[in-house]
Symmetry: C2
Subunit: 396 residues, 2 copies
């Protein structure tokens, strides 16, 4: 079921649920890994219950679990743990996002599994990681966005707190886990040994704070939110045209001059307030008023044409409908659909749930616009058990 | 100079500048890869000029380029291109984030390099990628956050557009590139061939839209910004206490009941408006008013203690100062400093720039709290040229 890709030789046993772990294994599956999703028999991955639903199936679950296989196992039952060990004996990677300690209590923790399956790479994604004082605390995306500083940088000054509009805490952790798993695979080719990859959602938030930490370190001041603008580049903001906003990012003097000429305001670069990026940043409110006084004389689409022709970085603030309809986004195969799984009665291709494509484009492999549909719970049980030779021959 | 890590056998030649490419190679360097930064002789990476400065060096540049080496080469000069080819002949990976076409015009594009160095993995990070109608357009983070839909989901309804407070467009692209590079390394062990990894910042934004695409696909409605709250979970929001905001994320009925009991409002779960998550989401404004009427009777710190004791996911909205001082963040080695490079007169350890640590924690390798300082421009020239046997022996 896995598509052609650089990880085609790799098998991932995926015990993870909801978002951070499944996002990691989605990335691996998109790169060709075989991902066998091991779900609890009673309902499976919680995300199967998350709306909205398309023809009775969660569209959210569908997008995160495309191209994976499913088998239901009760990890509290010895028989099913034995099946899991057979799976792990043939697998390269285990991914889980239980709270630290949960799998240890079932004899399925890193220490136990490393002893039994020394080549297995064990990736654990959790809210706070496996060490440190908060290790066993529960976390959701919102909690790590808040505790990790991202919310302190996002929003407009003076408004109520603002979350990044997608679950960047989960997604970033999933990406760091995918990086770590692949690096561990590279190393295993040399060492022959697996390793534990421990990724915390909170750590991932700290790791993407970017210039905020450097600014705090140099000045002792915690930066606050700035709406849409940049702390040290101007103009770099959202600007109001006659019928709505566009963004403009003129990151250096040459681009600023080009912008001003394109807008018919070649006087602005010679204004002492706006002569350097530093000065423009100091006087960004005055600069914004000057630019908007011109922009508001015409529509956003007009100005985007003018700025594109001049080569000034600018763009529309697209809603999701506009993103999915964008000809460039489509040309990059970033809007894809789920194909029916062989032997499953299901939707026609064109009716499958719409989802984001794989942003890792590789010259050596195709980038299909249709990916295999997410599995129903336990859909691959018979085939997987047959591969494992389960149940064992009573004579053996 | 590279620390111990799973990529210790890997050498990366890094032609990238500013953020997306350097973030990718920082992640690889943190995992042990040797990263040789090739910079233009005239000033090097533009980010060297970005404030704030610590003892004359950009703190921003320092955090992104720790653990790397530097050599200055003029890629327009044949002699320096010959040095680059000697470097590439011994390297595993090339990373660049020029606008598509720039390196091709110097004879250093993917086609040329793949012919000459067939095992080399070539990772190109750009605003819009190497294909599609916008391929050659300039982009900054703000532009892809706007065009990719992230800004349409972030902020409070009715306010001016809101950018995610860090350059998530660059950072996400850097992470996808790191995933792709490592996957290509895994594959090269089988195939013996390098490949092109083409990552667009815009594609990366589409890839992290998460449930927004599924919601649009199922309903035909483009979701808008929701402040700090979740579209389909309640309570999952920022709430005002007597002295400031905290976040609370009670993602299911059991947690909601626990929350209400801990707050002394065991009546709320039996209120018909709040009996199910779906109903709580519909009536989230009324629920928020009920919860805040209690929360505002005491301080944030009090409520965080109460909720932690009850096991309800909750947390403070930390500023950068609080993030860096957090005992858990420190225990996870997520606050690190740059160590002096051998042979460089520089800061004492404790005075080096503060930066985020490596969020990929690996059982097989140490996770040092001090990483080698970023190089000054061309700092490693002599040693690198000597390794390459340059200049060539005139007799050979």
């Amino acid at each position: 079921m896995a598509p052609a890709g650089p990880l085609a030789e790799i098998t991932v046993v995926d015990l993870s649920r909801v978002l951070a772990g499944p996002y990691c294994t989605m990335v691996l599956a998109d790169l060709g890994a075989r991902v066998i999703k091991v779900e609890k028999p009673d309902g499976g991955d919680d995300a199967r219950q998350f709306g909205p639903f398309v023809q009775g199936r969660s569209a959210y679950f569908a997008s995160l679990n495309r191209g994976k296989e499913s088998i239901a196992l009760d990890l509290k039952a010895e028989r099913d743990r034995n099946i899991l060990h057979r799976l792990l004996a043939r697998a390269d990677v285990l991914v889980e996002n239980f709270r630290p300690g949960t799998l240890d209590r079932l004899g399925l923790g890193w220490d136990d599994l490393h002893r039994r399956h020394p080549r297995l790479i064990y990736a654990a994604v959790s809210g706070f990681g496996r060490t440190g004082p908060y290790a066993t605390r529960p976390a959701y995306d919102l909690v790590v966005q808040a505790m990790g500083g991202m919310m302190s940088l996002t929003g407009h000054p003076g408004t109520a707190p603002t979350r990044v509009g997608t679950s960047i805490g989960d997604i970033t952790a999933g990406l760091f886990a995918a990086v770590g798993i692949n690096a561990a695979l590279v190393h295993r080719a040399v060492s022959g040994q697996g390793m534990l990859v421990d990724v915390a959602m909170l750590d991932g938030q700290v790791a993407i704070l970017e210039n905020a930490i450097a600014r705090f370190g140099a000045t002792g001041q915690s930066p606050g939110p700035l709406g849409a603008r940049h702390p040290s580049i101007a103009p770099f903001d959202a600007f109001a045209c006659a019928d709505g906003y566009i963004v403009i990012a003129a990151g250096n003097d040459a681009l600023f001059r080009t912008l001003c000429i394109a807008m018919g305001r070649s006087d602005l670069p010679d204004n002492p307030l706006f002569r350097s990026n530093e000065s423009r940043t100091t006087h960004q409110a005055a600069l914004k008023a000057e630019l908007e006084s011109v922009l508001q004389t015409n529509a956003a689409a007009h100005w985007l044409d003018v700025l594109a022709a001049a080569g000034v970085p600018a763009g529309p603030i697209n809603g999701i409908d506009q993103v999915l309809a964008d000809p460039h986004v489509q040309a990059r195969t970033m809007v894809i659909r789920a194909a029916p799984r062989p032997g499953t009665d299901t939707l026609a291709d064109a009716d499958g749930p719409v989802m984001a494509g794989n942003p890792v484009k590789l010259s050596a492999f195709p980038d299909p616009a249709v990916r295999p549909q997410a599995p129903d719970l336990d859909a691959d049980r018979d085939r997987i058990l047959a591969e494992l030779g389960w149940p064992p021959d009573p004579g053996s």
